[in-house]
């Protein structure tokens, strides 16, 4: 961290020439500006990251000292059917929810930026309201809709002559409700990202294409969608990472049920680490999740690089 120590008082600087004039304060100042963030980063990211790696090699209940047991936790993971199930259900949820979320948000953003629709500002507020609602309350709202014995959805299905569905006791249906609720909650923010990006597309591009006889579909796929690429990349990356760590909403919606069938990976970490006080094993699961997220992030980065990183 320490580069060059500040010398005595700063000399009176000459008018700027081609080279920037560096005064001692210009090294010290940024160091102080980032100091708070650096300490917090070290304590709450680097610390838990490396400590988690260590705990994953120990048996630790949270009291007393961690006992080093080598790779035993990881060996146990390979035979843990709930671990596999959690990974599979979390990945399944991610693979299904991210495209639904993407299409919903982009579709709504297109409708809200089209000059051919009316009531756009009122609709925009409605689509945005779920952003205000916490994941717990989102879970409550959708549980109230999809209750098997008391929910509105099954009541309507029955009234229409169909039959109520097992939204709470059938694993795939329960997962479908989680996807619906997640999309409902997540669309608001993504929609704003798309609206901002769509407004940045010069109208002249689309008009020129129209004059040349391009159909609406051609204009969308050949002009709009390629120009949205940076935003799409962000949305898909953030959506994937968000879905992989889904936890709070599901807690209130169905608790990962029926039973433990839809217990996502973060819930499994929580249950193992905090309800069963097996911090060592929970840390091993954490490390696997971390690895998965790194692989996802890196492979998505390969497709699209944040160009202004440098």
């Amino acid at each position: 961290m320490v580069q060059d120590a500040p010398a005595a008082a700063a000399p009176a600087s000459a008018p700027p020439t081609r080279r920037r004039i560096r005064r001692p304060g210009q090294t010290l100042a940024p160091l102080l500006f980032i100091s708070v963030a650096f300490v917090l980063f070290a304590v709450f990211f680097v610390g838990p990251g490396s400590l988690g790696m260590y705990y994953s090699l120990t048996e630790y209940t949270g009291v007393g000292d961690p006992e080093f047991i080598g790779l035993a936790n990881y060996e146990k993971l390979f035979g843990d059917s709930q671990f596999y199930r959690s990974i599979i259900r979390t990945v399944l949820y991610t693979v299904l929810a991210v495209p639904v979320h993407y299409v919903a948000a982009l579709g709504i953003a297109l409708l809200l930026t089209s000059a051919a629709t009316r009531f756009r500002s009122a609709a925009r507020v409605i689509f945005f309201v779920p952003w205000l609602i916490s994941p717990i309350v989102t879970g409550v709202i959708w549980r109230w809709m999809f209750g098997e014995n008391f929910g509105l959805i099954n009541f309507v299905l029955n009234a229409l002559g169909g039959s109520g569905q097992r939204w709470e006791t059938e694993g795939n249906l329960a997962l479908a409700v989680v996807i619906l609720a997640g999309t409902w909650a997540g669309t608001a923010f993504t929609m704003l990202l798309f609206i901002a990006a769509l407004r940045n597309i010069p109208k002249s591009y689309l008009e020129a294409a129209q004059i040349d006889g391009a159909s609406a579909a051609q204009r969308f796929f050949k002009i709009t969608l390629p120009l949205l690429r940076p935003t799409s990349f962000m949305v898909i990356l953030l959506g994937t990472l968000g879905a992989m760590k889904e936890f709070a909403m599901v807690q209130a919606l169905n608790g990962g049920g029926p039973g433990t069938e839809n217990m996502f990976i973060v819930q499994y970490i929580y249950q193992t680490g905090f309800q069963r006080a097996d911090i060592g094993y929970a840390s091993a699961v954490s490390m696997v999740l971390m690895l998965i997220l790194i692989v996802i992030a890196l492979s998505q980065m390969r497709f699209d690089r944040r160009e202004d990183l440098a």
Binding site: F38, R143, L192, I269
Partner: protein
């Protein structure tokens, strides 16, 4: 079909989608004004037959909402203040100074977006405990202060501020810190407002930190209190619905006041790039 430039089909589609989005919220809100006996009596009706606030009264008397509001508000306000300040300082350093260690730290910050807290929950808990922050509101506040999003937003914003402004201040003998606090920070007020709104929303609705840090019900935040109602074996829906609605009120007020800032297009400048 188009009438005077209005595409009827698309407009109808937009309205149908909006109705679908609004409906769960509406059903939840209207149900909270039904008496307990009406909540489950078939046939269900959209509007309550007998409007009542009894669920609200029960919720309010059975739970110490003032305390939950005070706890959540304390966490949200204090964290937001520090989040804005620390993000502004850090983002400013990234935007206006050049050094290899700044570059390296910036990349570290970006990586934290890939590695959310949830992933390292058990060991983070151990650290909070060892710092003596377990079961205290400070245990929620301190770890939540840095956010990559906030730092990134300020960095992007300060990069658009011309360097000449800073150079001119330096020539006039203005120190680095005065330049930041008296010139740069005021310029960045729009970003500060947006980040403050975001941060408040994140902290008000936060679940995972309070869940692992708080143990004493007197320290509960609203979300944890709600979770204790919805996690019960027999859910008291009348209370749960009302309590949930109550918990939303501050966010709704915030939205009404800051709607323009929240929904404006350039909010997203930080995340968009």
């Amino acid at each position: 079909m188009r009438i005077r430039g209005v595409n009827i089909g698309l407009t109808v589609l937009l309205l149908v989608l909006a109705a679908l989005f609004a409906f769960p919220m509406l059903w939840f809100l209207l149900s909270s004004f039904k008496p307990g006996s009406e909540l489950f009596s078939l046939p269900l009706s959209l509007f309550p037959d007998n409007w009542t606030a009894s669920g609200y009264e029960t919720a309010w008397t059975r739970f110490d909402f003032w305390r939950y509001f005070a706890n959540t508000g304390t966490v949200a306000v204090i964290t937001t203040f520090f989040t804005v300040l620390v993000s502004a300082m850090t983002g400013y350093a990234f935007a206006k100074y050049k050094a290899w260690w700044l570059q390296a730290f910036f990349i570290c910050i970006l990586i934290t977006t890939m590695l959310p807290t949830e992933v390292i929950m058990p060991s983070t808990f151990a650290i909070i405990r060892d710092l003596g922050l377990y079961n205290s509101l400070a245990g929620i506040i301190v770890p939540s202060i840095i956010t990559a999003t906030g730092i990134f937003m300020f960095r992007q914003y300060f990069r658009t501020v011309p360097d000449e402004l800073l150079e001119a201040a330096r020539i006039d003998g203005v120190g680095e810190f005065r330049a930041f606090f008296q010139i740069m920070l005021p310029i960045a007020k729009p970003i500060a407002v947006v980040l403050a709104i975001f941060s408040f929303q994140w902290r008000w609705n936060d679940y995972i930190w309070p869940l692992i840090v708080l143990n004493d019900p007197n320290k509960y935040t609203l979300q944890i209190a709600l979770r204790s109602i919805v996690g019960a074996d027999n859910i008291d829906w009348s209370v749960l619905l009302s309590a949930s609605v109550i918990s939303l009120i501050p966010m709704v007020i915030l939205f009404v006041i800051f709607q323009r800032q929240i929904m404006s297009a350039d909010i997203n400048s930080g995340l968009k790039d």
